[in-house]
């Protein structure tokens, strides 16, 4: 079981990140013939989306990485969050060919100071997005979380598919395939449009950091310890007096709420939503691949996975602008998917712990206590040295 022998060669993760980073700089630099400002705005928009996608992988990590809750329906919570935030922040529908419910943007300008119309609706939208996604997860957990793990996966895929159909078919709800455009951007009126991308990166990055710390604090504690225990063995956790179902539900709902919030941030950042974007492939499986590659059970790994895989995605997109033979050129999108599918299998087989394996100690307090009392009895094996057993 290589997973426990882990002191895996520690250079692979930095090397991968370095390689992706180098390509991310070099290729646009070469394509734009050394135009630095073009490279910078390319990198800024790239990092913005990495930050957004990392929120989803973090949410998925709470569910799968730490608790073994098998959610194959990230798409569902993503859409719930994105559309909730959109209809909360937009103005009411008007004109022909637009039809959607809600539109509270104007009504939410409740505070008379600090240009609250620039951010208050967005905060409300964010909270509503997280709340709606969490609520759906709660309802779903009552029905499906007690069943076998793989039934939950099928049930969540199903919920995502039904939600996708509802968004497409029910045009009165969120404007169907015509999509929603003109979602107001947070603080959008404060900065000129050329510099807004930096502010957006700061907002998305800031929210990612906040999410990271909230999750990290919750996980590296007795709460996270119970989650990891039930990931390892539900029966043993039950025998240790823990209400396994309650903890599973907490982690499922929390992860879903994070995904909902991520959806809201996505809606704000892209400012328009169309159902074609929300495929199972993009909005569920890509995040799974990011998490598995980065290292499930490690929040930093989840972020690194998002960076590396979205980096790969973006780089291969750049390839298409080169003069490739037709045979390759027309097939680039599929080659990319093939690599992604193969990558999932390869990581599971060759490096199941991912780029960054999980930490040895769960609780931050245990780590501190151990630092204070490092003296294990003489002659005992220390970290990583027990592989011969």
């Amino acid at each position: 079981m290589p997973r426990f022998r882990a002191k895996p060669s520690s250079f692979i993760a930095p090397a991968t990140v370095a390689l992706v980073t180098a390509l991310l700089i070099a290729i646009p630099f070469e394509r734009s013939n050394g135009d630095t400002s073009g490279v910078i705005s390319f990198l800024v928009s790239f990092l913005t989306f990495v930050a957004i996608y990392a929120i989803f992988t973090l949410g998925l990590n709470v569910q799968w990485g730490y608790s073994g809750v098998f959610n194959f329906g990230v798409l569902g919570f993503f859409m719930l969050g994105a559309y909730t935030a959109a209809i909360v922040t937009k103005e009411p529908a008007s004109g022909s060919f637009t039809d959607y419910i809600g539109g509270f943007g104007g009504d939410l300008n409740l505070l008379p100071w600090l240009s609250s119309e620039q951010w208050l609706p967005h905060l409300v939208g964010l909270a509503a997005a997280a709340g709606v996604a969490g609520l759906v997860a709660l309802l779903l957990s009552v029905t499906a979380l007690r069943l076998r793990d793989d039934y939950l996966a099928i049930a969540t895929i199903g919920v995502a598919e039904v939600l996708r159909r509802v968004v497409i078919e029910e045009t009165w709800l969120v404007n169907g395939t015509r999509g929603l455009t003109g979602i107001p951007r947070p603080l959008g009126g404060l900065v000129g449009s050329t510099d807004y991308k930096y502010l957006l990166l700061a907002i998305c990055g800031g929210f990612l950091v906040l999410t990271y710390f909230l999750i990290e604090r919750a996980i590296r504690s007795p709460w996270g310890r119970v989650l990891m225990a039930l990931r390892e063995d539900e029966m043993a956790t039950e025998a240790s007096g823990k209400n396994v179902f309650a903890f599973k539900m907490q982690s499922f709902v929390m992860g879903a709420a994070i995904m909902g919030a991520g959806g809201a941030i996505y809606a704000y950042a892209s400012s328009s939503l169309t159902p074609e974007v929300f495929t199972h492939f993009f909005a569920t499986f890509l995040f799974w691949a990011m998490l598995i590659l980065g290292g499930s059970g490690n929040n930093r790994g989840a972020i690194v996975g998002a960076y590396v895989l979205w980096g790969f995605w973006t780089i291969t997109l750049q390839f298409q602008s080169y003069d490739l033979p037709d045979l390759l050129q027309t097939r680039m999108p599929y080659i990319r998917e093939l690599v992604l599918g193969g990558l999932i299998v390869a990581v599971l087989l060759l490096r199941p712990a991912g780029l960054l394996p999980q930490r040895r100690q769960v609780s931050i307090w245990v780590e501190r206590q151990l630092r204070r009392r490092p003296a294990a009895p003489a002659g005992s094996p220390t970290e990583g040295a027990s592989s011969n057993r």
Binding site: P2, L147, I154, V162, Y334, R336, L343, V345
Partner: protein, 332 residues
């Protein structure tokens, strides 16, 4: 309740029921294979729908030798000799839109698909077994393979849907005022024949007994001298055969479409779980029920046809809520 619905549907929406039975028989074939894998290997095989799709394309290749060329919309022939080159293989038989070549291609595709699934088991799942990975890891791996299979098909045959033949399809009239395409009659007959063959294999042969024993209790099966790895390989082979027939029949009923695999996933799982995981007869009836309900529900005025495959999911959730072990109990 389901029975009442079916009776009402037969009286009120007969045409939809006929389509439902045809589609249901295809689903049933796929679901029997899925439930076999589920029963013997204990994991949810997310690449099942995509395997079906792959085998349908495989038959297409054998029949026509055609793949996408270097430019979109331009095809290239790669096979020096195809099934269609057999004398008279494309001459339409009776009122069907195809000749006996399709049967040959289907059989060959079944062999190829079986082989692919067995090889994938060797390369991927067996290693995970040896590492004693949890069932969820198997499912994720199968998802990775599903993505890979789909993108391979897209690479080789492109995103545009294809058909086996372009001949006009003939209707035939059956008693009780039923009109059906000749091809659909063939689909139904083929699906039932293959299911019966699978049934005989499972319940009348030693191999079937070994498979059922493994589904029941893998440790015990190992101790009692069953060569589990061999049985697993044969399970994949059998599932591959079922998958291939289902895939070809589906492409005959609808068309060849790379997106089919994923679309089918929910109905397939709904059918397998409805019938009780690991229960082939259950999966057969589960597939029929899902097929009929899907076809009938889309005739309702208040529901858009876009919801067709969501219906499977609603059935699934109801079953999970009321009888998580399925209508017919979980056994093999």
């Amino acid at each position: 309740m389901i029975l009442l619905f079916l009776i009402w549907a037969v009286i009120d929406r007969r045409d939809a029921v006929v389509i439902g039975v045809v589609e249901g028989s295809i689903l049933a074939l796929g679901a029997v294979g899925l439930t076999l894998v589920y029963g013997v290997l204990k994991f949810a095989h997310f690449a099942h729908g995509d395997s079906m799709m792959l085998s349908a394309y495989c038959a297409f290749l054998l029949l026509s030798g055609v793949v996408s060329g270097s430019r979109p919309g331009v095809d290239a022939e790669v096979l020096p000799i195809t099934v269609s080159d057999l004398p008279g293989a494309t001459t339409e038989v009776w009122k069907f839109s195809f000749g006996y070549g399709l049967l040959v291609a289907m059989a060959l595709s079944a062999l190829v698909t079986s082989g692919i699934l067995v090889v994938l088991d060797r390369l991927v799942y067996r290693r995970l077994r040896q590492r004693k990975s949890g069932i969820v890891i198997f499912s994720i791996a199968s998802l990775g393979l599903a993505i890979a299979i789909r993108s391979l098909v897209l690479m080789v045959w492109g995103p545009t849907p294809r058909k086996y033949t372009t001949t006009v399809r003939e209707n035939i009239d059956l008693p009780f005022d039923i009109t059906i395409l000749a091809d659909q009659l063939f689909i139904l007959a083929a699906a039932i024949t293959v299911t019966v063959l699978a049934y005989i294999l499972l319940f009348r042969t030693k191999l079937g007994k070994a498979m059922r024993a493994m589904a029941d209790n893998p440790e015990l099966a190992l101790i009692s001298g069953i060569r589990t790895e061999l049985v697993i390989a044969l399970t994949w082979a059998l599932a591959g055969g079922l998958v291939a027939v289902a895939g070809v029949l589906l492409a005959l009923q609808a068309q060849l479409d790379p997106q089919l695999g994923f679309v089918l996933l929910l109905p397939l799982f709904a059918a397998a779980i409805l019938g009780g995981v690991g229960n082939p007869q259950g999966a057969f009836f589960g597939g029929m029920i899902v097929g009929i309900v899907q076809a009938v529900v889309v005739t309702f005025d208040f529901l858009s046809p876009g919801y067709k495959f969501s219906v499977a999911f609603v059935i699934l959730i109801l079953i999970l809520l009321i009888r998580p072990r399925g209508l017919f109990g979980a056994r093999l």
